[in-house]
Symmetry: C2
């Protein structure tokens, strides 16, 4: 009775990821950390780059502490936003200035800024299944409605035809998560171009911009020579979100940014609103020391080979055991079809073997589970016999 | 057209504080930093305590980086919450456990957590004028309605009688900011007891809890031997919010906490909802390194004498010039009655003398302005001749 209606729903359907994460911690306390194989959470095990510590020490040694830890403009330090703009311009041949950049509390903070700025009650936000389950909470924060385009379970690309049918006059935005959590798919340039074409037609029809929210914390984690198209270069009304959580193993620090080209429709209205949203959601500004740290570390490369090694091991071992795996092209998640078709039942079987992963019902992909392989290689190796026992339990036929 | 209706309103009435802050920066660029007297923003000039740097260096030297910068439970690190609980128990004789504490993105993040958890559309939140103007944005984030109890411009305490009249069946919470921004008033134990009695009666009448949101970032900044009552020891349904922004000069880092006693009504429902809100507003968790830092620095005392010296200087000089000042008992703000009664006109006169402060129309206190004296003593001294010129302009009679 004390909770808001929308919070009651959130509590009832509380994040499967977090439940599994806490279950993993309980199990570890019971049977020992080394005997639990926890694939629940996207908490990067790749070592934090040494440049982070160096940068912090350097800032604390050379800068005035009240500047380092003080308030700045709500959009972030000017010099930090200048460097981010320059970095994007060099990478993607754009023409961002600091005024097009807002430093945010992770990409999630940036997404909430956007939704706060544009959503009226019951306005719709389109997502393509499978999708990161927290999008539901973010859209719900502002009484929006999440409209789910069903998954293409063959190629895990975007089903543009179905998306076109799902757009209404209330559609304000489309979230694209590339590479995708949980599928590990990378959407190609061709897919994004098709999306752009469809959206341009839809915008004409509905008479207002439909913003593409590009949620791209995983864009630097891709394998086999894949590349991730830079959506704002293809679709005019795109807002780019980045986070350093995954690429630099800093998820706890909550630091990222959003970038909006000044060629987007309604830029002059939208940009100040995004800055105000960044203030009035209670962050005031993104954490100050880490704004300065990432300004020093924009060119630090993520340890892609760390995850690629894990990916290859997990994919080949599980495929050989007879599991039906979707080969990841990016991010650090592997999706499996649950043998027998019931993801929760499959997760329970795994739990009895001290393996923790997330059923994807809440991600719009029932019958599948997600394994986060941003763990130690060693843990994956040690988990294989337990997977073997589950494979036997389900009567899978090994391929070797 | 692209913005939500509530964001349009926010943009139109954009924070007077931030406007003045940006104006101050522009002026400084034009006439030189030393020739601008900027009293706009609560950005503490008291030096960041040396313990902060020591703690950061110590953590970076001795802890595993992936632990320091990684995800933890959404409520925060267990050991940090344990220390916060213990700290509150020692200070106030309470019986908090870590499960009653959520580490938040400043007190503002904590307030948004609470409002997200309890507000349905059009639910009401009571504030006493004068009030920190951002409360309007926070309540508006979740389509709530701010109900303002008019200011007691004589004593600047809480007008409990008027508050009782303002409570309806939709009232879900009351925000108490003690010491108060902008008035500098400290609400006494007697005032809080009266509030508690009134609210208990109101809760019986409306049939649901009415939570007191205790927004107390300034509670350690009080003068002349004043003490700030600990509201959760007086009013059962209170949620305590603290921030280290002001006391330890860390406003940019966004670190604070909320505490809810397990004796509050609906604790079992509310506590998990607060943790979920803390996740799903996009913060995921409060910044991790600074959680660890403040766990080391809970006993570090703020530099009260730094602000007290400023307070005495500014209050006596301005009073002597003939301005009608409210003597601050806590925080670091001084309110003035605008000579002539028009606060915006008064602010414009001041601007011509390169003095920047905030008219309080948006704080529910028309006809008054706020001076943030969390600045250097030197700047206050240098500003006096400019105040003198304004006093002459308005024909005030000096008291000396």
């Amino acid at each position: 009775m004390v909770l808001s209606k929308s919070m009651e729903k959130l509590v009832a359907g509380n994040s499967a990821i977090r439940k599994m994460f806490e279950l993993g911690q309980e199990l570890a306390a019971k049977v020992g950390k080394d005997n639990v194989y926890d694939f629940s959470l996207g908490n990067p095990a790749s070592p934090v780059p040494y440049e982070i510590k160096n940068s912090i020490i350097n800032i604390l040694s050379n800068q005035e502490p009240n500047f380092v830890h003080g308030y700045m403009k709500n959009a972030g330090f000017d010099y930090v936003r200048e460097r981010v703009a320059q970095h994007l311009n060099e990478l993607h041949g754009c023409a961002y200035s600091k005024d097009d950049i807002v430093m945010t509390v992770g990409a999630a903070g940036g997404m909430n800024d956007i939704l706060r700025a544009i959503l009226n009650d019951e306005d719709e936000v389109l997502v393509f299944a499978p999708f990161f389950t927290e999008y539901r909470s973010y859209v719900g924060n502002f009484s929006g409605k999440l409209v789910v385009v069903p998954a293409d379970t063959e190629h895990f690309q975007l089903d543009i035809g179905k998306a076109a049918e799902s757009i209404s006059e209330r559609t304000k935005a489309v979230i694209i998560n590339n590479p995708n959590n949980p599928s590990g798919a990378v959407y190609t340039k061709e897919t994004i171009e098709k999306l752009g074409k469809m959206l341009a037609e839809a915008e004409n029809r509905v008479g207002h911009p439909i913003f593409v929210i590009c949620d791209e914390p995983y864009r630097d984690l891709v394998y086999d020579g894949k590349t991730v198209p830079y959506i704002p270069n293809i679709i005019k009304n795109s807002i780019f979100l980045y986070s350093f959580s995954k690429s630099l193993s800093l998820p706890g620090e909550r630091i990222g940014y959003l970038a909006l080209k000044n060629t987007a429709d309604c830029y002059d209205e939208l940009m100040p609103a995004l800055v105000i949203a960044n203030r009035c959601l209670g962050y005031v500004n993104a954490p100050s020391l880490f704004q300065m740290v990432i300004a020093d570390c924009l060119d630090v490369k993520p340890n892609v080979s760390f995850y690629d090694r894990n990916r290859k091991l997990l994919f080949s071992e599980l495929s050989n055991l007879g599991f039906s795996c979707i080969k990841p092209e990016g991010a650090f998640y592997l999706c499996l079809r649950a043998p027998g078709g019931d993801a929760r039942r499959f997760a329970s079987s795994a739990e009895r073997q001290n393996i923790i992963f997330v059923p994807l019902d809440g991600f719009g992909l029932p019958g599948f589970v997600r394994l986060a392989y941003c763990v130690s290689y060693d843990m994956i190796e040690r988990s294989i016999p337990a997977f073997q026992r589950i494979a036997s339990e389900y009567g899978l036929s090994p391929r070797y």
